[in-house]
């Protein structure tokens, strides 16, 4: 290992450290809003890159690597981290400098990562984070002695409080030398590395802080045999209520805004066809996605608070036993719960599951959870075909029971599919379940805010572009071919032709060609069928519209209605979900598989329902 003279100031810097070291908080501090997320091509690992602005006006590119405990290439995360650091990844430039972030309250163990990092010979700043916790709990160390032992500069900071960050910036601004060669242990030998780390800590006069008392006390409550599950249930109910009740007025607001702005734009557009395209195609397409934004934001706000505070790990612990019976694990719980709002952010949330097979299984069953897009369809069909009669007095009527039944069906389908997947193609094998319980912390507005922005951008961009595209395509199909320069009635459009073509295939389910058109349009997004049916029957498209209900009653028998409900319960009708699954699983294989088995299940269930119910 050489010690070359210092090169020019760094242009690309890698941020590396163990999980729970506060690395991401530091990343957010350094880059602020100038960051973006992407997947490493070919793998399912995400990385954040951002630009840090220095005092002299220059910008340094920072890449936030996945949290790893070592650079031994055992897991995908570690392989990626090591390959980026050694410059072996073609899509990421070799970093000119490394910021190694360690938890100062857990220094003896975290220093183990310093060995392989320093061995790379890249200029490194060893950052000891959580300085506030260290002080608060009576810990102490000699920074200069540590810097001597490691042969690299050391900074003690608190990323959360913003304390000491200027040291990081000054490191980034100067020309820094490679680490001085020091005695490093055999990197493959974990006990030797740990011994080395302990020795370095001792030489640096490290006094470990007192154990986190508050964390132990709170765990006495949150992991209590009685109060634990109670708090857990409260949290679950709160998430649900927030998603449905609190989001509703916000969603109405967004919808109203789109309607108003659509009416405002319409007169500005000259040609009738163009006006229709912009207002009915583009605007309603974009509106259909943006209307979900309040729900997505609230959901991620909740998840952000749970994750940053440390409670999420406890929730995963409580849920683990139940999830294990299905073949999954505790960390799948929150994503699956989120899927009740929308599968798109839920699938994004599965990145917290390290075990690849558990993660894929969770992704594959998430769309079975009754998402909010199904509700308008359910509402319409149930109102049209199921009379409202009380079952349990005022508590439960037939309509509510039907809705509940559909929720339960989705849940059962998810459970059954999970068991099937985990005992066959996604069988886990050996990887033991390991969950680190971080100390409880107050979440900061800044870190949650940035994460919210991040996730909503992904949601809007990916879901938005796809849905927009498909809505426009469907608009085109529904408004061509032109009939003497006028737009055709829907039965004579291309969409109508397609609907009639597939009618023989869906007749065994009790559907006619009009429903067929609706099914095709709902492939983009489930709730689109309500608008499509409205257009077909020539009336206002609303899931509460009585006229629409009456029109459906003429064309659909009770058996057909139940079949339609079951079809929507099981089929994958969401281009956005397909797009996100493709992104998170790194290819088309899994989304294609998912689309197929869900489609087959939907068809079979609808077929049986139609023939049983008549």
């Amino acid at each position: 290992m050489q010690a070359p003279a210092g090169g020019p100031a760094p242009r690309t810097v890698a941020l590396v450290g163990p999980p729970n070291s506060g690395k991401t908080t530091l990343f957010n501090r350094l880059t602020g809003l100038r960051q973006k997320v992407a997947n490493f091509p070919g793998v399912t690992v995400e990385h954040h890159t951002g630009l840090a602005e220095l005092d002299d006006g220059r910008a340094v590119s920072i890449i936030d690597l996945p949290g790893v405990y070592s650079l031994a290439p055992r897991s995908e995360d570690e392989r990626i981290a090591r390959d980026v650091l050694t410059g072996e990844r073609p899509d990421a430039p070799k970093p000119d400098a490394i910021l190694l972030v360690l938890d100062s309250t857990n220094l003896n163990r975290h220093l183990m990562l310093a060995a392989p990092i320093l061995a790379l010979g890249v200029p490194t700043l060893v950052i000891l984070n959580l300085a506030d916790d260290l002080r608060g709990r009576g810990g102490h160390l000699d920074l200069d002695a540590l810097a001597r032992e490691l042969g690299a500069p050391v900074a003690l900071i608190s990323a959360r409080q913003g304390e000491g960050i200027e040291q990081v910036f000054s490191f980034l601004m100067r020309a820094v030398p490679a680490p001085r060669p020091v005695q490093l242990p055999v990197l493959q030998d974990v006990p030797k590395c740990r011994e080395w780390a302990g020795r370095v800590g001792r030489q640096a006069g490290y006094r470990a802080p007192a154990p986190p008392e508050w964390t132990h006390r709170l765990d006495g409550l949150f992991l209590h045999p009685v109060f634990g599950p109670l708090v857990f249930a409260l949290v679950v109910i709160a998430v649900f209520q927030t998603i449905f009740t609190a989001a509703a007025p916000l969603m109405d607001g967004v919808r109203g805004l789109f309607n108003v702005s659509g009416n405002w734009i319409a007169p500005l557009i000259p040609f009738a066809a163009l006006r229709s395209l912009v207002v009915e195609g583009v605007w309603s397409g974009v509106g259909a996605v943006v209307v979900f934004l309040p729900q997505v934001l609230l959901l991620f706000l909740f998840i952000g608070i749970l994750e940053d505070s440390g409670y999420l790990a406890r929730a995963a612990l409580i849920a683990d036993r139940t999830m294990a019976r299905v073949g999954l694990q505790g960390k799948s719980f929150i994503p699956l719960l989120s899927a009740y709002a929308c599968a798109v952010p839920a699938i994004l949330a599965t990145r917290t599951i390290e075990n690849k097979r558990d993660r894929f299984a969770t992704i594959l069953i998430a769309p079975f959870m009754t998402c909010s897009a199904r509700l308008p369809v359910y509402t319409l069909i149930i109102a049209a075909f199921i009379p409202n009669r009380p079952i349990l007095g005022a508590f439960l009527g037939t309509r509510a029971a039907a809705l509940l039944g559909l929720y339960i069906l989705g849940f059962l389908a998810a459970v059954a599919t999970a068991r099937a997947l985990k005992s066959s193609i996604l069988k886990s094998g050996r990887t033991p379940f390991l969950l680190e319980m971080p100390a409880y912390r107050w979440p900061t507005v800044q870190s949650i805010g940035l994460r919210l922005l991040d996730r909503s951008m992904i949601f809007l961009r990916r879901a938005g572009t796809v849905i927009l595209l498909v809505t426009v395509v469907l608009w085109v199909l529904a408004h061509l071919p032109l009939d003497n320069g006028h737009m055709p009635a829907i039965e004579h459009s291309l969409a109508g032709t397609v609907g009639r073509t597939i009618e023989p295939a869906i007749r065994p389910l009790g559907f006619n060609w009009k429903i067929g058109i609706g099914l095709i349009s709902s492939l983009a997004a489930r709730e689109v069928i309500v608008g499509t049916l409205g257009s077909i029957y020539g009336m206002e498209a609303d899931s509460h519209s009585v006229d629409l209900q009456k029109a459906l009653q003429r064309d659909l028998s009770l058996g057909g209605a139940v079949a339609l409900l079951l079809f929507f319960a099981f089929a994958m009708q969401c281009i956005s979900t397909i797009a996100v699954v493709r992104r998170e699983t790194g290819g088309w294989k899994w989304p294609a598989f998912q689309f197929t088995y869900m489609g087959v299940l939907a068809y079979a269930a609808a077929f049986i329902a139609f023939h049983v119910v008549r």
């Binding site: 006990p191 790990a313 033991p432 379940f433």
Partner: protein
């Protein structure tokens, strides 16, 4: 001590280099002052009740899994304290090397320990 560590290192490298599920049994002699009264049946982490302390002896898992556990602090010679369980019994939280790590029974059963008595 040094020779034991070399053997340990060799075993790790040998079993780590192929993907086969060879159980890497990491067995270090107990520190001399704990040599009295070796228990008749070998204890594992599942035998600990809340608040019990023990010292890790061995990890009966394939090399990759054992390595992950060691990186989290379950090294031979490390002190472990058993913490809370999830309501329902499984998994259980263990305090080791400055962190709290939750393990399922199936994993805890593979970590051999001894108590200091």
């Amino acid at each position: 001590m040094v020779s034991d560590l070399i053997i340990l290192k060799l075993m790790l490298q040998l079993s780590g280099n192929n993907g086969q599920a060879e159980a890497a049994v990491l067995d270090l002699p107990m520190s001399s002052h704990a040599r009295r009264g070796r228990p008749a049946r070998s204890l594992t982490l599942v035998d600990l009740r809340k608040g019990d302390e023990a010292i890790v002896d061995r990890i009966d898992l394939p090399a990759d899994d054992a390595r992950r556990l060691m990186e989290l602090g379950f090294l031979p010679g490390a002190r472990v304290v058993a913490g809370c369980r999830a309501p329902g019994g499984d998994p259980r939280v263990f305090q080791v090397d400055g962190s709290e790590i939750a393990l399922r029974r199936e994993t805890a059963r593979k970590i051999g320990v001894h108590t200091d008595r």
